[in-house]
C-alpha cells in the first residue's frame, strides 16, 4: 500500500482506539511509513528499471516481514517500561502497516528463511491500483469526518 494510505489508516485507528491522535501525529507519521524505507534501497538497486520491476515482494527487506515484526515487538515490549501509551501508538501504527501490506499484496512472510511468496487474493492484482486509490480517498474522508487536525 502507498505511504499516505498507511499514515491515514494509522491515524484513524489510533484516534478511534486511544483518542486524541493529534498528540501522537509525529510518531504515527514516522512509524506508519518507516518500514517502507527499504524500498529506497530497492529503487537504487533497480535504477531505471523500476516501472518494469514494480514494488513486488522482492522490494521488501527482512524488516518488512515477520522477522521485522518480531524485532519490533521485542523493542516495543522493552521500551513500554519507559512510556506505555507511546509504545502502544507506535506498535499499532507499525503493525497496521505490516497487516495492510500482507492483506493487499504479495509478501514473503518468512524471508530471509524462505523466499516463498504468498498472496491472499482478497483483491485481484489487476485491480490493486484502483482499490488502493479508492481506499486512500475513503481513509482521507474518514479522517476528515473525525475532525483530526493535521498540524504537526
Amino acid at each position: 500500500m502507498n505511504p499516505l494510505a498507511h499514515f491515514l489508516l494509522g491515524l484513524l485507528v489510533v484516534d478511534i482506539v486511544f483518542g486524541n491522535a493529534e498528540r501522537f501525529l509525529f510518531y504515527i507519521l514516522i512509524f506508519s511509513v518507516l518500514i517502507d524505507l527499504d524500498h529506497i534501497i530497492y529503487i537504487s538497486s533497480v535504477k531505471g528499471d523500476l516501472f518494469r520491476q514494480k514494488f513486488g515482494s522482492g522490494s521488501r527487506s527482512r524488516f518488512h516481514e515477520l522477522y521485522g515484526l518480531t524485532l519490533l515487538s521485542l523493542g516495543i515490549s522493552i521500551l513500554s517500561v519507559h512510556d506505555l501509551i507511546l509504545m502502544q501508538v507506535i506498535g499499532l501504527s507499525s503493525i497496521l502497516h505490516y497487516a495492510s501490506d500482507f492483506l493487499s499484496g504479495k509478501t514473503r512472510p518468512f524471508y530471509p528463511f524462505s523466499e516463498k511468496e504468498v498472496f491472499l487474493h482478497i483483491c485481484p492484482q489487476k485491480y490493486r491500483l484502483h482499490a488502493e486509490i479508492v481506499l486512500t480517498i475513503l481513509l482521507g474522508v474518514m479522517v476528515w469526518l473525525r475532525g483530526i487536525s493535521w498540524s504537526l
Binding site: T70, I95, F102, P109
Partner: protein, 145 residues
C-alpha cells in the same frame, strides 16, 4: 512441511474433530482469504471493544472461528500447502498483535515471544506456538463481560 509436525496431542485432537467436521458441507473458498478476514475482524475488535464488550467478545470468537475454519476448508478440499501454513501463522501473529495492543501488559510481551516461537517453528520444522488468543478469550470473558 511444518503443518505436519504439530505436537502429537494436537494431531490426535484434530484427527477426532476432523472425522466429524470434514463431513459438513463447506463452501470452497480460498483458505488464504479466510485467514485474511481474521485480521480484519481483529481490527474491528479493537475499534469496538471500548464501546461494547459483548460485541468485542463476539468478534474475538469470530476471529478464532475464522482461524479454525481456514484450516478446515484447506483439509476438506486438499488445499493444505506450505504457502497456506505461512499465510495462516502470519495472519495469526498479525491478529494477535492488533488484538493485544490496547491490553498490552502482559499480552504484548507474550505476542513478542510467540513471534520468536513462530520463526523457531518454521526453521526447526516443528510447530510450537502459544494459543494466546484462545487464552485471551477466557481472560476477556472473565474480566470484561
Amino acid at each position: 512441511m511444518v503443518e505436519g509436525n504439530k505436537l502429537e496431542f494436537v494431531k490426535k485432537i484434530r484427527y477426532i474433530t476432523d472425522y466429524f467436521l470434514l463431513k459438513i458441507p463447506l463452501p470452497r473458498i480460498n483458505p488464504n482469504i479466510i485467514s485474511g478476514l481474521s485480521i480484519l475482524t481483529s481490527l474491528i475488535f479493537i475499534l469496538v471493544v471500548k464501546h461494547s464488550s459483548a460485541l468485542g467478545c463476539a468478534l474475538l470468537v469470530m476471529t478464532l472461528f475464522l482461524d479454525w475454519l481456514d484450516g478446515l476448508v484447506a483439509r476438506r478440499y486438499n488445499l493444505s500447502s506450505e504457502e497456506g501454513y505461512m499465510v495462516d501463522v502470519t495472519s495469526d501473529r498479525l491478529s494477535e498483535g492488533i488484538i493485544f495492543i490496547p491490553f498490552f501488559v502482559a499480552w504484548f510481551y507474550l505476542f513478542a515471544l510467540n513471534n520468536i516461537l513462530t520463526i523457531y517453528s518454521f526453521t526447526r520444522k516443528r510447530h510450537v506456538v502459544l494459543p494466546l488468543r484462545h487464552i485471551f478469550l477466557v481472560y476477556f470473558i472473565i474480566n470484561y463481560l
